[in-house]
């Protein structure tokens, strides 16, 4: 049985992004060794994902994270629309 070098990555969606994807959480599969940019591409490839903006804020846990962050097993991400609290 060969090892499959693919990570399932859970991504939370909020507000308008959740509305566009019709889901508040999705799971995308990226190659082991991939980065946040690959996660974002994975979400954008889902139905409705093409309407997401080119650049989005991404959180890793409770912290913002850069697109070049290398994804580890069990990492959880969130795509954040522009904040509009207050």
């Amino acid at each position: 049985m060969s090892e499959i070098a693919v990570l399932p990555v859970r991504v939370q969606l909020f507000a308008r992004y959740a509305e566009l994807l019709g889901a508040s959480q999705v799971t995308v599969r990226i190659s082991a060794g991939g980065t946040v940019a690959d996660v974002v591409d994975g979400v954008r490839a889902l139905p409705g994902g093409a309407s997401l903006p080119e650049r989005m804020l991404v959180a890793h846990g409770v912290d913002q994270v850069r697109y070049d962050h290398r994804v580890q097993a069990d990492d959880e991400f969130a795509l954040l629309p522009p904040m509009s609290g207050g």
Binding site: F14, A15, R16, G61, V62, P82, M83, S84
Partner: protein, 149 residues
Amino acid sequence: MAHLTSYPIQLDALIHAVLSPSRGGVATFLGMVRDQHAGRSVVELGYEAYGPMAEAECARIVAEAETRWPVRVAVQHRVGTLVIGDTAVAIAAAGAHRDEAFEACRYVIEELKRRVPIWKRERYSDGSEAWVDPTAPGGTVPAMTRAPE
């Protein structure tokens, strides 16, 4: 005190959380739901948050303010459905003197609006809805209208 709440915000509770006999100046800010935005008549708002990160980010902002000025700060943001006149956000900053209280209070609301993952959806008098988005032309992006409940 949690920074996010589904219940009406009590300003008195925030003020009491920051008071002490050595603090003589208390500056507060209340953000209330207005009846209009960008020229449209608002009837209702919904606030949605990424809870764990919003709590963490509020805590970071409070810690920054308390490091930068000799103050104690409390902040709460409401989530869920709000109507005109409801308090969406409240901040209280107390220091020995008013300068630091005002500056810290102002800092917290500016950083909160910029950094805390909370999103506002407006419903207008014509039944349409939009997401507030400070980066969008006109400040909003149309939302899919929810089916009547």
